[in-house]
Amino acid sequence: MKLETLFLFLIALSIISYYIAMRRAIMSVDSQQSISKLHSMPTYHGYYAVICSFVPPMIIIFLWLVFEQRVISTLLISNFSNIKVLSQGEINLFLTNVQNTLYSNLFSQDGTRFQSEIQQATIILKSYQSISRIILSVFAIAVSIIGIITVHRKINQNYRARNKFENAVSKLLMTSSLVAIFTTIGIVLSVLFESFRFFNEVSFWDFIFGTEWSPQTALRDDQVGSSGSFGILPLFVGTILITIIAMLVAGPIGLMTAIYLGQYASPRFRNIAKPLLEVLAGIPTVVYGFFAALTLAPFLRTWGESVGLNVASESALAAGMVMGIMIIPLISSLSDDAINAVPIAMSEGALGLGSTESEVIKKVVLPAALPGIVGGFLLAISRAIGETMIVVMAAGLSANLTVNPLEAVTTVTVQIVTLLVGDQEFDSAKTLAAFALGLVLFIVTLGLNVFGLYIVRKYREQYE
């Protein structure tokens, strides 16, 4: 049975169970009596029956799908004694080949090893999959029917179907709120797990303090330069360089924009300018990247030539400037929040002493709002560090250890993309390195976010 059919069948079952339970509830009171004698309205008996007949099989299907792939692969491999003994990476390659053959009917390119095994395995895999689906279908439908029968038996005048139903729903709601937690756990586990495997191959200290990044490991061991080096320092420097450029652009501009819009601009002007800034926030990053790579970078290059500077065509400057523009709305709105939280009485006090407006802002409002602004800046920095598309398109690939903004540098995110895009076997040090970089990125941005959010919250509480 296909999954879609199984779903439809289960839905049909639960609709039937709804009507059965409702009828049974109505029958349980003497038909002459009002149904208000029932503890719960008949519809609630129906709803509860739906939950009992639908949710347990759905849980089973979900768990089944989570583990199905793994179990089937293990079973499949155990059929081939010559494959079983291979390394994990080779087994995975074999499995990928089998799946490609099965799904796309496109037989893998010539020269692949184990041609006949792949053909054989494809057939076995197909049969395993259909067996698995049959067992799952029978199991799920059986559970559903058991659910219906159990509820049906319990229904009587005093059965608290509404309470039971509401309890079940609130559990479902709670599960939904846990999805966010599971996402975080999933991120941490998946990144950590692959990173550990990476650190089995590459020393942790070489990774953190190495000054050379060239992940191109050779295909065969006897080739020259087979080792590849994974020193993250150049990536770090590149990331920080671009982030600094971005913050130099976005910091003052965003802050001054917030001040101008909040303190000086007329309401009419503000009503036009603010949405325009929001447009800036809504432009997809890939579009910013396009602009940086194809408009700003060539412009900077020709400009550099005219004044005798050698600007790389993928300079840190172009990427950083465009990233800065992208961050302006974020900084401006966070600064605006921070400034608005300063009590009016404070600035009125300064105005009362005869300060000009700019003096009030510079001497009173900004110092008072400083913690909030700093918190906002931290969030913006985290955003800049994690930004991917702009740097992928406009910054370079080569890991130069330099702080010259006119040269090409590369960043952590660029390298993650480069390492993972294209056909890779999943177990090479190269792909695993991407996860190690992801781990570093996650930790750094998480730290900045937690700290930034904490400062912003503390600051707001102070004036509340």
């Binding site: 009002s34 149904i35 208000s36 029932l38 309205m41 008949p42 608290r160 509404r162 309470n163």
Partner: protein, 270 residues
């Protein structure tokens, strides 16, 4: 003077007990976190009677009536001890479903709070969720009846599908009363029902309370002593979470026994 200062030692004076109590509260204490809002209150309420709870703001009278239909359950930090029974049944027992309790003990709130739905749906909501009407005709009847009892029917009969929010403040409050009596409760709690209304609307609601008292037990919290005097048979005076004095309305207003009650009635505490 000592009675004024030693509020902690107050024993309720007057007649907190009645012959056939319908609601009976015994040694009720309510804590909101560290705040001890109701202190050891015991009070009985008879059937088909209007009892007014009076006292300065923050004295716990609203908190007390919110105990009677367990509205305090919605506040996480509220902790209630003691015993309240309705018709002999402990309302805080584990077996009792607060939903059923609230269908028996209706409540009208300080600010009129109609649902942002039609007038009809406002009144029909309670009967619908409790399955009180077999069909649409019966539901129509309940709605019309309730609106009539609330004295609103003539004014709105031709626009039942307009939003409840389109009515005036006084009409909204009568709509809320109609909504409450549509469920056919045994007790109606009213938490300062006229505080947001003008004098004319207030007078209409007071007349309504008089009529309703023939069928329901009514507990009304009010700031206005005149209102308490006009609508109630018994009066309970609360002070800083304690029930100071409870007695027949006439007795309390003409001859209060406790010095605090005296102070309040003569306007020395406000």
């Amino acid at each position: 003077m000592t009675a004024r200062d030693n509020i902690e030692d107050i024993e309720t004076i007057g007649n907190p007990n009645v012959e056939n109590p319908f609601i009976s509260a015994k040694n009720v204490n309510v804590h909101y976190g560290d705040n001890h809002a109701i202190k050891d209150v015991s009070l009985q309420i008879a059937k088909n009677q209007v009892i007014a709870l009076i006292g300065p703001s923050g004295c716990g009278k609203s908190t007390f009536i919110r105990c009677i239909n367990r509205m305090n359950d919605t506040i996480d930090i509220a902790k209630i001890t003691g015993k309240i029974s309705l018709d002999g049944e402990d309302i805080y027992s584990k077996e009792l479903d607060p939903v059923i309790l609230r269908a028996r003990v209706g409540m009208v709130f300080q600010k009129p709070n109609p649902f942002p739905k039609s007038i009809y749906d406002n009144v029909a909501y309670g009967p619908k969720i409790h399955g009180l009407a077999k069909d649409r005709n019966e539901l129509d009847e309940i709605v019309a009846n309730s609106l009539q009892k609330a004295g609103l029917y003539e004014e709105v009969s031709d626009r039942l599908d307009e939003s409840g929010l389109s009515l005036s403040g006084g009409q909204q409050q009568r709509l809320c009363i109609a909504r409450t009596i549509a469920v056919n409760p045994e007790v109606i709690l009213m938490d300062e029902p006229c505080s947001a209304l003008d004098p004319i609307a207030t007078a209409r609601i007071e007349n309504l309370i008089d009529e309703l008292s023939e069928k329901f037990s009514i507990v009304i919290v009010t700031h206005s002593m005149q209102q308490a005097a006009r609508v109630s048979q018994r009066v309970a005076y609360f002070h800083l979470g304690r029930l100071v004095e409870v007695d027949d309305t006439e007795k309390v207003f003409t001859n209060p026994s406790h010095i605090l009650t005296q102070d309040y009635i003569t306007g020395r505490i406000g």
